[in-house]
Amino acid sequence: MSRSRIASLGRRRPIQSTRRGRQHRRHGGPEAHLQPAGPCGHHPLPDSVPKVKEVGATSAPLLSASFFIGARCQPYNDDYMQCKTENPGKGEFECLKEGRRVTRCAASVVDDINKHCLDEFRKHWQCLDNNNHQLWQCRKDEWKLNKCVFDNLKLEKTIPEAQGIPVHLRSKQIYAHYPALRDPGQAPFKKAVDAPGAEAPAL
């Protein structure tokens, strides 16, 4: 898997039945014909449904990548949600195609981030994991990640309808354990940190 180990951390896998042989022997008799997949084995989707590899990332990497997923995959996401809205009660089956597109798009974003910004990405989501998923505790790592992703993938984090300076660009995070996001001896920032497209603060 090219997506590195991050993606496979702690994810569930379809559980394969390994008891087929034994069940055969135990049941033996007329029910034996039930056993092709085992009554409790893993039944994959039928072949008429194209296969798609699940994203397979845990919550912290997803949170870290969420705005980039949103930046690239908004049309697919909107398509899917519209399909779900238009098919109440049967969207699970009608929207499989849109759902595959959503998943492929998100997986492409995670793949690209892993390819170009693995270190920054890892730093940021591990910081989130260590800080109760509080985004404001991890701004330094986030800025580095945002800059790297913008430079390499041209995806930018934007918060729609943000009031004033977008909160992820404020140089002082008043709820963080260490609100002033600069190193000892470093000159104070200007009022806001510039957007990653311009110039990230030298940290």
Binding site: I15, H43, L62, Q74, N77, I159, V167, I174
Partner: protein, 86 residues
């Protein structure tokens, strides 16, 4: 006294506004992720449903319509593997 209170309320207002913005950020990050998570869940539900129907057909030779509607009803019970050890 008045000055202290004014300063305190000013800081309180600042804090509330920042909280609002942080909440907005969190909501949008979740909005971007929901289709992804829901799509994965839907595929799993569809897979389980189809397997369930196949299993029912195999066992009883017929699929009984349980509900008087075409709506998909999320099953209350799920069949789990008898053994999860490899």
């Amino acid at each position: 006294m008045g000055a202290v209170c004014t300063w305190g309320f000013y800081k309180l207002g600042q804090g509330i506004r920042e909280q609002n913005e942080l909440a907005r950020e969190k909501m949008w990050s979740r909005i971007h992720l929901i289709p992804l998570l829901q799509a994965e869940e839907d595929r799993d539900l569809a897979r389980r449903h189809m397997a369930d129907q196949a299993r029912e057909k195999q066992l009883t030779g017929d699929n009984i319509k349980v509900y008087n509607s075409d709506r998909y009803v999320r099953p209350t019970y799920a069949i789990t593997p008898a053994s999860t050890t490899k």
